[in-house]
Symmetry: C2
Subunit: 234 residues, 2 copies
């Protein structure tokens, strides 16, 4: 029997600066309101991870500077329209402007994606494990999609949780083998967490409590990246 | 201050047959475990909606029959590889095989998408409103995405909830105007609900409790469909 899942915003995380110990600041904020517990998944937005890791660069707002930053942060541009670029980042994510972001960043700066978001997630997980609590961590970011209006949050890094669950070989409720075999639970968890974080509230992390414990274990965001040869849109 | 959100599976909904009063069956199942309350959003999977509405057609499993069904249910094919078609449905959704589905359907049949999923959502909402409970309803389906492995659930119909929230003109936590302006909360709610429904458990509905009440109101899934002229991938 499946149980309930609770989405809990972590409020009170201060404005993050380069070099801050993000995991300890999130832990302290959660401790004051809703302490993190074994078996939770902690979702942390890319923005604060990038700030803590010093992934901020001077940016004058010009289209030329933007194009140069995108070129540095991406392998290739998939589509362009005006100043917009849909680019494949050095990690393999396909998103607008290679994930470079101006909102919730001080004027004159742009935030780049973490160099290795799985490593970012592992660092947070390790600090919390050192306090005796075993959790999964997902780093989330906000991506647009083809065909559908509105952005949603997705996972760009994971630690201690399997991002894609393979249902191959399991049967549906009528006993037939399932045609749809792989569910990206990491993206579903990131999307769920966004509902309690919002875009303009300064809530940079959320606890997702009650996930199927079979989903926890070694994981790698590379499992979410569809190889180009399997992709009909690259 | 944002509060918690709770995702509650509605267990005990029986196998649905054409002509069943789906809303009353879901209400009865919820009543026995977790009664639906004012301000909830009820997420119902497409599969049971299609079954209740008799959107089942005989299907022999051949590639020829599949191609004929896809042609009937879609406006155009966007990409093809082998027997797979990425098609734009008559509603405007872009998805694999025009949303035609074989899992959790009896052998010899395929389930088509509802003719008008907003109407399907409104019917469910109206029945529950007639019992004195005011909620939002989302019909969800499972779609793949370009570039990313694993499927996630998205919204294909809504009633009483705005699917895309426009943050234009609001400020981020540092007081700068937000660059990202529109969030597809309907897709995030559908994805969240999937986490308590799974693919092989026969749980066909979930209650999402604690959503921002400002998100409720008149809504239309057309708001989620990106017009072809704004789309870089059609």
């Amino acid at each position: 029997m499946l149980g309930n899942i609770t989405l809990i915003p972590v409020v009170g995380v201060p404005e993050i600066r380069p070099g801050d110990d993000l995991a300890r600041l999130i832990l302290a904020a959660a401790q004051a309101t809703a302490p993190i517990a074994d078996g939770d998944c902690l979702v942390v937005t890319q923005k604060v991870v990038s700030k803590a890791e010093g992934r901020l660069v001077a940016f004058d707002g010009s289209d030329e500077s933007k194009a140069a930053l995108i070129a540095r942060e991406s392998r290739r541009v998939i589509r362009r329209r005006g100043a917009l670029r849909i680019a494949e980042t050095n990690h393999g994510f396909v998103c607008a402007n290679a994930g470079i972001d101006l909102s919730n960043v001080e004027a004159g700066f742009a935030a780049l994606l973490p160099v290795d978001s799985d490593r970012s997630a592992r660092r947070i997980r390790d600090v919390i494990a050192s306090q005796g609590t075993s959790i999964g961590v997902i780093i989330s970011d906000t991506f647009g999609r083809p065909w559908r209006r509105g952005v949603t949050d997705v996972a760009i890094g994971v630690a201690g949780i399997k991002p894609v669950i393979d249902l191959r070989g399991t049967n549906d409720a009528l006993g037939r083998e399932l045609a749809v075999t792989e569910v990206c639970i990491a993206d579903e968890v990131a999307a769920a967490a966004e509902l309690v974080m919002g875009k303009s509230t300064g809530v940079a992390a959320a606890i997702v409590r009650g996930l199927n414990q079979e989903w926890f274990g070694p994981g790698d965001i590379g499992d979410v990246i569809r190889p180009a040869q399997d992709d009909l849109f690259r």
